[in-house]
């Protein structure tokens, strides 16, 4: 049960949890449209979401479109 940070907040995820798992929990879909994910500051390609596991101390950013100029 690694401790990670998701969008700046601490979270505990099951061992073996992937990015896709995280997204499913957060949005209902393992590959939501209009979403990007950074793991420790680096983009994780959409294709790699199902296979990218989360480890202790990982910083995950899950981003989507907001109004902007």
């Amino acid at each position: 049960m690694p401790d990670v940070s998701v969008n700046g907040s601490p979270a505990r995820v099951p061992a073996g949890h992937t990015v896709a798992d995280l997204l499913r929990a957060a949005t209902g879909s393992p590959a939501p449209r209009g979403v990007a994910v950074a793991l420790n500051g680096t983009v994780v390609r959409r294709a790699d979401w199902p296979t990218t596991g989360l480890s202790e101390g990982d910083r995950v950013e899950v981003l989507t479109a907001k109004q902007g100029g």
Binding site: V62, T64, A65, Q67, G68
Partner: protein, 253 residues
């Protein structure tokens, strides 16, 4: 019709989505503006999921141009651009690298560095720049697909504070020039086009107006008016009058 990075666009107005009071107001403004391209930011997802902004945009049938608003270094901006490419499946990016939080004007050095990197990474880079003609040329030389000079600070509504520099920029680069930031009202947008800009990008002027949809329509006409005027060869300025009615044939009464 004009071309931006190989894409045909009918409207010369690019609309920023920031500042709108509601998705409904935004949607009405997008429709009224006639735009084909709108900017969006990338921010942390809310509890409820991706939210409806992309739905609004999809309903309007317009393209998405992600920005890197809020970045103060090339490194940050480059990372955010890569994330945007992943999220929106587009290699286009409105590149913002801010140098000062009061003016939100770009940092020339960081902006150029980020442009070079993103061009190397295969992006279509549309940098939000200041009105310096030399920097504009260096951005174009670095491979920017357009240059997007500020007319005045973002959201200030001051219009085009230095029309001379916008003219100089127009002469300094081959790529499209998009007047970005500072527009307050319709005549500002028309002036931008008359100075030779290829398009205008604005957000606050529409989204924060008392009637966003009305102002969006105003901007649609203003951009069309300014472009037509630019192409139609305006009369020269004269110190004295030149009668429009001929004197010949005037009766003796």
């Amino acid at each position: 019709m004009w071309q931006l990075a190989g894409q045909q666009l009918g409207s010369r107005l690019i609309l920023g989505t920031g500042g709108a009071g509601s998705p409904q107001a935004l949607e009405r403004a997008i429709v009224a503006s006639g735009t084909e391209l709108v900017t969006v930011a990338l921010r942390r997802i809310d509890a409820g999921g991706p939210g409806g902004l992309l739905d609004v945009i999809e309903r309007c049938g317009v393209r998405v141009l992600p920005n890197t608003a809020g970045c103060y270094t090339a490194t940050e901006a480059v990372k955010l651009a890569h994330l945007a490419r992943e999220a929106f499946e587009t290699g286009w990016v409105k590149l913002e690298v801010i140098g000062d939080e009061r003016t939100l004007l770009p940092d020339a050095v960081e902006l150029l560095a980020a442009t070079e990197q993103l061009v190397a990474d295969g992006f279509t880079v549309l940098p939000y720049t200041n009105d310096d003609p030399v920097l504009a040329r260096r951005l174009a030389d670095a491979g920017a697909a357009a240059v997007m000079p500020a007319g005045a600070p973002i959201g200030s509504g001051l219009g085009i504070t230095n029309p001379h520099h916008i003219r100089l920029i127009r002469q300094s680069v081959e790529v499209p020039v998009v007047l970005d930031a500072g527009i307050g009202t319709a005549s500002d947008a028309a002036l931008a086009m008359e100075l030779g800009c290829d398009a205008v990008l604005l957000a606050s002027a529409v989204t924060r107006a008392a009637d966003p949809a009305g102002m969006a329509e105003a901007m649609r006409y203003a951009v069309a008016a300014g472009r037509l005027a630019y192409e139609s060869g305006r009369i020269p300025k004269r110190f004295y009058a030149l009668a429009s009615t001929v004197d010949e044939g005037r009766p003796e009464l």
